[in-house]
């Protein structure tokens, strides 16, 4: 039984191929790490899986549903923590949680206690009525994570969930993810640049570079195949040493300009 099936998935932005004919499957109840250098195409893949972006070609199924043609069924099955901020910072932390709960139709009797439990868990409960605008980067991130856990989806997408969190909080969050995975059989699809996280938590790993999946397997298999000491060395052995400059701000700015009138 697969939670996610992807076949020959491709995404082009104009001439540029961001995701290049990738295929993979994610078993139900597994913790799947999608690793790759900056600009490899991870977020783009997640956007296509989560109905935010249309693919150029190829097929996808989430719990048997097609994100393109059955988007509403698909949206009912997953939850996501985005890489980029997505909270409303002119609302309070509590209001952000509440909106999420209502959008996902979490019953009122469950919603209130669960918001309290999750906000205590990420240690934001005593600041629940503060505008998110006043939060630090890490606090905003913790709020995003707590919100992503709120409705207990069947599939949870985590795009660099622990980005910018201190090590204590990172551990803490991972324990929760594993608990959800064990108790509710939640399938977890995550990306990270902390190889230790992937090595410790993932049951399966796929490494993507320049839009192509290069290798796939359990953490142990990857380490063995590359003859490395650990996953970090294996990752570098597979993806090379050069630095990717995809996240440079000037490029982002130019992309924004370009996209202003041309919708994709």
């Amino acid at each position: 039984m697969f939670s996610i099936e992807v076949k020959n998935l491709t995404k082009k932005f104009g001439q540029f191929t961001a995701v290049d004919n990738i295929s993979f499957t994610v078993k139900k109840g597994s913790i799947f790490a999608f690793l790759g250098p900056n600009g490899a195409g991870k977020t783009t893949t997640i956007k296509m899986l989560t109905t935010l972006m249309d693919q150029t070609s190829g097929e996808m199924l989430l719990n048997g549903f097609n994100p393109r043609t059955q988007s509403n069924e698909v949206r009912k099955t997953f939850g996501i923590v985005f890489q980029d901020p997505s909270v409303d910072d002119e609302l309070t932390a509590y209001e952000n949680m509440e909106i999420h709960g209502v959008l996902y139709k979490v019953p009122n009797s469950i919603l209130k206690p669960r918001i309290e439990q999750l906000m205590k868990f990420v240690e934001l409960w005593d600041r629940k009525d503060e505008l998110v605008r006043n939060f630090s980067g890490g606090m905003k991130r913790r709020l995003e994570i707590a919100r992503g856990f709120l409705h207990h989806p069947k599939i949870l997408f985590l795009d660099e969930p622990t980005l910018g969190l201190d090590p204590q909080t990172r551990n803490h969050v991972w324990n929760y993810i594993k608990k959800l995975n064990q108790e509710e059989e939640t399938t977890v699809f995550f990306t990270t640049h902390y190889m230790a996280e992937a090595e410790k938590s993932a049951t399966e790993i796929a490494i993507i570079d320049k839009g192509k999946i290069i290798i796939q397997g359990t953490p142990d298999e990857l380490v063995k195949k590359t003859g490395s000491e650990n996953l970090e060395d294996a990752f570098i052995a597979i993806t090379g040493h050069e630095i990717r400059e995809e996240e440079a701000n000037s490029v982002d700015g130019m992309r924004l300009q370009r996209r202003m009138w041309t919708r994709k």
């Binding site: 989560t50 935010l52 949206r75 996501i80 985005f82 909106i99 209502v102 959008l103 924004l256």
Partner: protein, 247 residues
Amino acid sequence: MNAIYILWLRQIKRYFRSRARIVGSLGQPLLFLVALGFGFGPIFEKAGGGNYIQFLAPGIIAMGILFTAVFSGIEVIWDKQFGFLKETLVAPVSRFEIMLGRTLGGATVAIFQGVLVFLLSLLIGFRPELSLLPVAIVFAALIAIFFTALGTALASMLDDMQGFQLIMNFLVMPTFFLSGALFPMQGLPPAVAAIAAINPLSYGVDGLRGTLVGGAHFGLFTDLGILSIVTILSIAFGSYMFSKIRV
């Protein structure tokens, strides 16, 4: 609670939390009321148009609603840039419900802004007829919904705030100035009259004027009919464009 309600509530909360925005957006209507009302008043009266403040106030109320409504619709661009839009777009809620919640929220805010301008105009010397006030509120609501939905539609096509200036200069300003808000529709040059006649705001201004001071140019039923139809069309257009958003 449902999705439409919670998204409506979000718009309301955001509005009432930014007092600066509320006060700031009263500045322009006040300026128009004072400068035009007192500045052109004597000429208007001499030409036989009657009291200009009486004539002008409904137009400026419409202007307050127009600006706030378009701005509320355009907030979609902010939400795109600050990321909150993604949160609503992945939720298991139809695009139509999301759009409707946002639009009704934005429209409510715009109506409230219209009420503030109305109160302001009372201070300047506006003396409205109150027997048709409920109908005037219906007109205010239609103007508000029409332009919030239109703003949402346009914002759905744009990716950043630079487009906002374009919309203000090439759409909102002409819509306002060529709507009969500032001058009577009688005896206009044919070209201007034609533009005013296809301008939805003209019917909104006319409706407000007809209910608050009397003397509607097109007639209240025509105003109501046309405004209702274009409002439905703009909701349809807005939800179609909104459903096309990809982030």
